[in-house]
């Protein structure tokens, strides 16, 4: 067996809460292991080299959305990115821009996503619901509809689409692609009774759907491959037709 490859990880270190701390790049070297992900590499560094390194993870399987970071220029999930894909073994890691920095590679996507959820009123709207007879079985849903909702419900709120969006970065009030996906998810749900006009009131302006400049950063960087381009275009068509 040949000896393992050396990896070089350049990591942005900065703790905004620490008095006098300055953003700086720190390089860590380590041996690559088979099927190593960035997440494993970072843990290795934290365990053996620098216990103060901050980064987030929970599920390690691309499900929780906590480990989003900028990997060689691309917003992506650290737990799903293999180190072997980088030919020269040099990997630069930055925290996701557009979110509040907690420290090093850890950002607060939660606050953003919470505000997004509230802004698009991310729940089923149905005035009848209050009067519904709870002992009666719900109407079965057409499987294709259920699939469509599920497809859009796969968003893990990792924030990659927001960091990859030039519009969101230039204009912090912009709802962003995760918000559009959330809207698309409820719009596809026949239990949600909101009309085109209702949606227009929520996102019919330049901070909403008409602010999107079709840069496709979201479409090209969503780790869950949500249908951004197609659904944003759909909402745009729907909203220009509403009155």
């Amino acid at each position: 067996m040949s000896s393992p490859r050396k990896l070089k990880l350049n990591v942005l270190r900065y703790d905004p809460r620490k008095e006098g701390d300055e953003p700086r790049m720190v390089t860590y070297e380590l041996d690559e292991a088979p099927s190593m992900t960035i997440f494993i590499a970072l843990n290795e560094i934290r365990r053996k080299q620098d216990s103060s390194l901050k980064f987030d993870f929970v599920c390690r399987a691309g499900i929780c959305g906590s480990c989003g970071m900028v990997i060689n220029g691309r917003p992506d999930l650290a737990c799903r990115t293999l180190t072997s894909q980088f030919e020269d073994g040099e990997i630069t890691l930055l925290p996701l821009p557009a979110f509040e920095l907690i420290g090093d590679l850890s950002v607060d996507t939660g606050k953003f996503m919470r505000a997004m959820s509230e802004r698009v009123e991310s729940w089923i709207h149905d005035e009848e619901a209050e009067r519904r007879e709870l002992t009666v079985l719900e109407e079965p849903m057409d499987p294709d509809t259920a699939d469509r909702i599920y497809e859009l419900d796969r968003c893990i709120e990792c924030g990659c689409c927001i960091s990859a969006c030039g519009t969101a970065r230039m204009r912090p009030a912009f709802l962003g692609a995760a918000g559009f996906m959330r809207v698309a998810r409820f719009e596809a749900d026949p239990r949600d009774k909101r009309t085109a006009e209702g949606w227009y009131d929520l996102l019919g302006d330049d901070d909403g759907i008409f602010g999107c400049m079709s840069l496709m950063g979201c479409e090209d960087h969503c780790p869950k491959d949500l249908p951004h381009q197609n659904r944003i275009a759909y909402m745009r068509r729907k909203l220009v037709q509403s009155r």
Partner: protein, 270 residues
């Protein structure tokens, strides 16, 4: 006079119901009910861009008639002036050219005004966008910036060209146009304008298709890949056609410089 601080009524349902029922002044109502204007402006931006894009492609194809022959270009010019309504003499109604130029100018101004809303508005926004480009190296993001830069260039150069066409509509023809290019020193402007228009137009048309999902079909991702290829091919085709036509006019302009100002006579080509 009723005074309510801006925005305060948004959370107050009882005020809102009154507003919607029309008891409140207009100012307040506008604040509560979402305006239809962002939708209209977005549509108008797209339609103006589409119309300009189609016009520019047609325009370049007409201009490139010089590659066939001087006669071909002259005949086409007369045809565009509706010479068929005036069979007894060469030429038609240059006023038609003026009218077209003015119409395109108005469209151009409308489009520039609408699209300008998307320009980075502050140095900070501009810097953030540049940083984003440097970080991501993502082609659609970079191309948007190309559109902003070429659009900005066209503000000035496009206006000059359109004004000349509107004010001197009878000054078009194999010699007249070539003299303007060479003896009139307009060639640098046309060269830059050619690149600006072709890059901006092709990117814009691609973006329109993406933005409204026009050709999405059942595989939007495949469609987008194809559209990108088509966009590149179109850009290359029109740049090549434009450069060839440009070279043809400059060549004629140089040869004709001693007689600059003289008009071309149909059939005088050897």
């Amino acid at each position: 006079m009723l005074r309510v601080p801006r925005g305060c009524c948004l959370q107050q349902e009882h005020i809102m119901s009154k507003v919607v029922d029309g008891e409140m002044p207009r100012l307040l109502r506008d604040e509560v009910k979402k305006s239809r204007w962002p939708a209209r402006l977005d549509l108008a931006q797209s339609f103006s861009g589409l119309a300009l894009g189609l016009f520019m492609w047609t325009h370049l194809i007409l201009v490139s008639s010089i590659l066939i022959s001087k006669d071909a270009m002259m005949k086409l010019t007369y045809f565009m002036e509706a010479s068929f309504l005036k069979p007894e003499e060469p030429g038609g109604y240059p006023l038609l050219v003026s009218a077209t130029a003015i119409a395109v100018f108005l469209l151009f101004i409308a489009h520039a005004g609408l699209a300008m809303r998307k320009f980075p508005a502050t140095w900070k926004q501009h810097r953030v966008f540049r940083a984003q480009m440097a970080m991501m190296k993502h082609s659609d993001t970079n191309q948007w910036y190309t559109q902003v830069v070429t659009g900005f260039i066209m503000f000035f150069l496009g206006s000059v060209h359109l004004y000349i066409m509107a004010s001197q509509p009878d000054n078009i023809g194999p010699y007249a146009s070539a003299d303007r290019m060479w003896s009139g020193h307009m060639w640098p402007l046309y060269l830059v304008l050619l690149f600006a228009v072709e890059l901006h137009g092709a990117i814009g048309m691609y973006r329109l298709a993406i933005k409204w999902g026009v050709f999405d079909g059942d595989d939007p991702r495949r469609t987008r890949r194809r559209l990108k290829t088509v966009k590149t091919l179109i850009t290359v085709f029109f740049l090549a056609l434009g450069l060839a036509s440009f070279a043809a006019y400059v060549k004629i302009g140089i040869e004709h410089a001693p007689h600059a100002g003289e008009r071309y006579q149909l059939g005088s080509e050897p």
